[in-house]
Amino acid sequence: MTQRLTIAEQSRLLRSGEASSRELTQTSLDRIALHDEALNAFIEVTPEHALTAAKAADQRRKEGNGGALTGVPMAHKDIFCTRDIRTTCASRMLEDFVAPYDATVVERLASAGMVSVGKTNMDEFAMGSSNETSYFGPVKNPWDHAKSPGGSSGGSAAAVAAGLVAMATGTDTGGSVRQPAALCGITGFKPTYGRVSRYGIIAFASSLDQAGVLALSAEDVALVTQVMAGFDERDSTSSPAEVPDYLATLEASVSGKTIGVPREYFDEGLDPAYAEAVNAALDVYRQMGAAVREVSLPNLSLAVPTYYVVCPAEASSNLSRYDGVRFGHRADNIDDLESLYKRSRTEGFGDEVKRRIMTGTYVLSAGYYDAYYLQAQKVRQLISDDLQRCFEQVDILAGPTTPTTAFGIGEKVDDPVQMYLNDIYTVSVNLAGLPGISIPCGMVDGLPAGLQLVGPHFAEASVLNFAHLYQKETDWHQRQPGQS
């Protein structure tokens, strides 16, 4: 595989005139044409749209109006509404759906001049951790095509890891940006809940969903997050907190800072070789002058069950709008209203989606609401309090992103609970609404391992800073599939 170029690198080339957006975009499209049949990372590739945008970007640079991101090719997870381009959410329900508007994230990145080459594959309605539930077929991990790239932003992760694009957007509800980033050996970031607008993101679990970035470096992530972040009046859960200059603090020293490592992370579920890679990463930080100490998250074992109550409950309600009336799949030959609903929905949704809708409906139903949903929201508070308490003693938390490296496609589909346990390290972060990043920190039997860093609310700058400094001292993030 040819050397992947980061956004920062492409930006330099564009600025100096060594490359045009047209050329970079064409390269991206060529790579997709060459590799995507095997990877299945894209649901829709939009060459015409991309080249038009590239041309405009080149013009803009010529006029001196280009910014860091202008003219750089990227892709959007197919959960972001894109006006006049199909948004399917990897579901038969929205197979032909064309949104009449752009998501805020799409608008902002387009305004910055980024060139979208297409929509990436994902788990259906973002429900999954392996990108195996897509209506359009599973995505393959570029490191080993028999392995899953993770999910739900599997397509975005694979596309970036394979060098098809330098950046792809994703969404992270329980780990769906960080986990695939870890399994594909790239950098994946989820900002604080409310930092980036959810307007135009097809809703999965509203109190957990957050737009994220998958890219090749923390620096690239900072460049993109800078543009995506900020208040949006169309989203009531959007924070009015000011967006600082993330690049200004990327290089700040972390000497004297403290990293907390939750002892509950290092249990029997974690692969020992993976644990070693994480520990080696902590040594790198020690060498920078940061202190590393143990902290405790006593309620960690309840995080996954809590997540799997709150998340399907909200999702079951969010997906009620798919009824075959105003948009989306409608069954043929229906005679009555009940059939319209039941057949359209049963045909339109895949098994995992139906299972989660059923779970969510169950935990909200009369007689069960208190024991499940209400209880889960209380435990959620406990988990969040645990994390807040840690931040009273440390500046940042660190640990593995996933318990193992990439697993085989088809390996975990039969047991939903087994699949859910993949999210053990990532879900608490969503439950508490904290910012978290996964960066490559080693290889285990030829597959990438990820280090997760988690900060307090609105500490994006700190998280990106820690991540960037690590990437200056190491080169795990530069390892590509196909090389060593």
Binding site: E233, V304, K342, M358, T361, Y362, Q375, L431
Partner: protein, 95 residues
């Protein structure tokens, strides 16, 4: 906690999903395992805990009372499976 066939059918109906007879056992099994898994939540002592309303401590923003949307019916209805005279068409609803 085992779910019965009736439970599955009832939940499916509430969610407007069809579960064929042959699929019911699979649902009973998988959903059952999930419910068993989340039942662990019952162990947590949450006696004095206020349920989390939102991850952030924010209150609802209020927007000014202004008309900001116009008529885009044709564009929106391009996505509709069936319309007539500007209405969305569904099978007869009896009131």
């Amino acid at each position: 906690m085992t779910l019965s066939r009736e439970d599955i059918e009832y939940i499916a109906h509430l969610a407007r999903l069809e579960v064929s007879k042959s699929d019911v056992p699979a649902y009973v099994d998988k959903l059952g395992r999930i419910i068993e898994f989340i039942d662990e939540l019952g162990q947590a002592d949450t006696a004095d805990i206020v349920p989390m309303a939102h991850p952030l401590d924010m209150s609802q923003r209020l927007r000014p009372d202004e008309v900001t949307e116009g008529d885009d019916r044709d564009r929106f209805q391009a996505n509709a499976p069936e319309t007539e005279k500007g209405l969305y068409v569904v099978p007869r609803v009896v009131e």
